[in-house]
Symmetry: C3
Subunit: 381 residues, 3 copies
């Protein structure tokens, strides 16, 4: 097998992605989907003026029968002419992803369901339950402060009762941030915090869980369930939208909690991690149950993807790294994420072979672990 095929044929497990946009997108919505900002680009500029968008024009345009680097307006028009269904089908067919593990809790009203992802891809699609969305659903559904903790736990247990579910997720980093005390709050504290939250919802209509006590309850309750089921909890780490303050989301802030639940045995997967992928790598080395990926970053840095993968390979054990696209909405991002991952891993390991650091056999084994086997093992696929 030639070295440049190391990762080409792997039936990748995308252990973290979201649903697809089922509908056509007008020009503005397409451009906004290429941005993490909550705002349009400044006057005289465009959200297409960035690395990931350059890469969409370069590598995704041909999938839509367009020339590489075609202008954004033509790209947007062709996308609508083909229709969302065909666009989604084409890109997912081109990913070579073998299994999709889909976070079902982020803006589900805009995205297709987990089942639909599987149907579009003609591949298995499994579900991750986003615990903050469950908590917000409980609050929205009507609950007393005294009943909140039990209702939340019951709702998570009910959600994971679906045998298609393979793990939990927390976006603690976006909400209370990772720079918190990690003690398991007492029931009275949770009740008091829930009371404050429910009163605020009553007043403002805004159902967004940010309270630190409730987030602490959420991750400890999630840990109980993950322990029972033996499946992973995913944590958002590092880069994200404007709600992130990076200095608060270094994964090493999680260390005290990771230690407390180490003996519980369930895997903890650190998502994205950039620019803290080196910190995540050390945690994966130090703690038996910690795993990590650099999805999202591989897509978002456009032509600069190779360095991110190279850095991710520095410290993390080969049995601890995972593949994800973190694709959200745009079918392009599943395709591009898989492409970047395959190319980056192949080139990184190819360089190890060229440098006489590694054999082709070992490189294939490492690529299979990172791209497929590690996720199969910990998500029990």
């Amino acid at each position: 097998m030639p070295v440049d095929d190391i990762a080409d044929a792997l039936p990748l497990v995308d252990h973290h992605c979201h649903g697809l946009f089922p509908a056509d997108l007008d020009d503005a919505r397409l451009a906004d989907s290429l941005s993490e900002a909550f705002a349009p680009a400044p006057p005289g500029t465009s959200h297409w003026d960035k690395p990931v968008a350059l890469s969409v024009r370069r590598w995704c345009a041909p999938v839509l029968d367009l020339p590489p680097l075609c202008p954004p307006a033509e790209y947007a028009e062709r996308r609508r002419a083909l229709g969302a269904a065909e666009v989604n089908r084409r890109f997912l067919a081109a990913t070579g992803i073998g299994t999709y593990i889909v976070d079902s809790g982020n803006r589900p009203e805009e995205l297709c369901s987990v089942t639909e992802v599987g149907a579009i891809a003609s591949a298995p699609a499994r579900e991750i339950v986003r615990m903050e969305s469950v908590a917000e659903g409980v609050a929205r559904g009507g609950v007393s402060a005294a009943g909140y903790a039990q209702a939340f736990e019951a709702a998570v247990r009910s959600a994971v009762g679906d045998e298609n579910v393979v793990g939990l997720k927390s976006i603690l980093a976006y909400r209370a941030t990772l720079r918190i005390d990690y003690g398991n709050p007492a029931p009275a504290e949770v009740e008091a915090a829930a009371g404050r939250w429910l009163a605020e919802i009553e007043q403002t209509g805004n159902v967004r869980l940010v309270d630190q006590t409730l987030e602490r309850h959420l991750i400890w309750a999630g840990a109980d369930i993950a322990r029972e089921r033996g499946f992973p909890i995913q944590f958002h780490i590092g880069m994200g939208d404007p709600d992130i303050e990076l200095h608060r989301v270094d994964p090493s802030h999680l260390t005290p909690w990771v230690k407390e639940v180490e003996s519980w045995g369930f895997p903890i997967t650190l998502l994205h991690c950039y620019p803290f992928h080196r910190e995540a790598g050390l945690m994966a080395e130090n703690f038996p149950q910690v795993y990590c990926d650099v999805g999202f970053a591989l897509n978002w840095v456009g032509p600069s993807y190779q360095r991110i993968m190279d850095e991710a390979l520095e410290l993390v054990p080969f049995t601890k790294q995972l593949f994800s696209t973190d694709a959200f909405g745009l079918a392009e991002l599943y395709f591009l994420g898989a492409k970047r991952f395959r190319t980056a891993l192949t080139r990184a390991l190819g360089k190890w072979i060229d440098d006489d650091e590694c054999s082709v056999t070992e490189a294939e084994r490492i690529a299979t672990l990172i791209g497929v086997e590690n996720a199969r093992r910990i998500y029990r696929l």
Copy 2:
């Protein structure tokens, strides 16, 4: 146009530099100018033993008719033999910089004025008003605690009344650090803080603004003026002299303030950023009014400049990155900073072209944005 010319002819806008040393330098002063330390090099060593100084010997010596890598003593002697005026003229002529935007507030007694920079360079030189210097001038000039806030604001307004001024700057990172509460202090708080500061000046004679309350007032007052004028506020970020504690100057600490003033529309430019240029890149992606550069670092790392530029290009939108030399005093640093920027950007984009990620046309457009157009647009040149 050959790929290796992408950035060669750009009439760069150096959006952050300082004045030049107008006088000849003795050996010790020249060596000290190659160091961020406040102290001489340890016994048996020299400030010439470092990356930036190696690069000065390699690339600047020929501009003074010396052989590459000539010994420091010869370099220093030749510099004096030519005279500061000729040295300054030669290096600035060789930069190809089209416009200089000069911070006029840092050790002005040692440096030539903004006007003189323009005269030496035969190019437009515009001014940035350093707000901490204005505040210290107000304190030095005599003011009451009750009158401080108004006097400071009037002094900044007066300074920006000069139509050559194109922006404001804060060195908050050096003074109160970025790890602060960002609330706008009430007038009574400002008056109390000013009273303490003025009393301390009275006692010690030391006029250095470090008080957090006064710094908060400063940036909020600056924001008001920047909003009115529609021009940028620059912030020192990351690497600097021994007054910096790096863990306190990660730009993501600014996030709460950036969000509060987002709707005000004025640009915020993050200077230097190393080693937090990835953090700065995400902020430029997340917030429409945030811009950044890796000046200073490109000079100071000597032969290692390429990696810094490569990393800076990972995430930041093409419309959000800027060029600066951060040259201070030594004419060499304008020349070397421009040279490093042109080479690094050309090679980075050239690699994108070689990797079939980008066309020559796109690369030229990106280079023009980063080197020239972004600064012209936000500084309204």
Copy 3:
């Protein structure tokens, strides 16, 4: 001299390593020695599945007459067949290290002594006194709270009375972390803290110094002795075992203390530093008495060593970087650490030469400073 020999023949000074395992290792113990975790690898995985272990199989196997990349079980068996003494002798003979500077205070019951390191290597071996181990020895030996401070200081003075000792070390980062107040505690505070510690030892039998006040006393007492003797204090920085929380061990947290003792003149050496080697580099630039290395990381990242060296060379003055292996127990790590350092430095400087940034003569001088002369100068060898 060909460029690719720049660092090959240097009689390196390994300014930070530990003793060797004098006894044979069973399979489990050998695997555990390739991990920073406190736990075995998760089921279905092995501590051999990581970068450093791949490099041991690739580069160390041939030293034991095994084929490159031979299976771990064969490697472990061959290691025992040769016997620890022969294994240790072979690897140390192959390092080309001229002088070993050995931290004698970490798990001495498992490792050979400083003298034995020298005997095995047929090279000088000098000692570093780990102050936390001295403090714990004092506590273990029986002391009153009132007598603790004086007893600790006397014990350190006694230890450094041995003329083979060339420096002190603190693992503050592992214990109170670097994110502390750095004031020198008053005697009464030290006495009170010692009282609490001794009572806890009495209760638990666990003699582990973690108290912040006692750590502050330790580094200030160490500073007094280092000043008198004119020798360095080493600080653990950055990556380590599960007791590390990375966000608490950025070296820039040490800045206030570094400033307070700057005039005392003794060197401060920042060990490992990854992933904060850029932060360490700026501190070495800013403060005359600060030095740093990227040992440990060069070993632990396996095939990815080059990037770490490249980044370490960005900012740190040539007179401020040091060589270390941070080898602990396994003879392989002295050999691999020296090999990685020589290759990385040669290639980094070779690239500077290829890029016309540096001459061969300068490169040799820089390599000699970093690999040999800087350590000789500050440790007064």
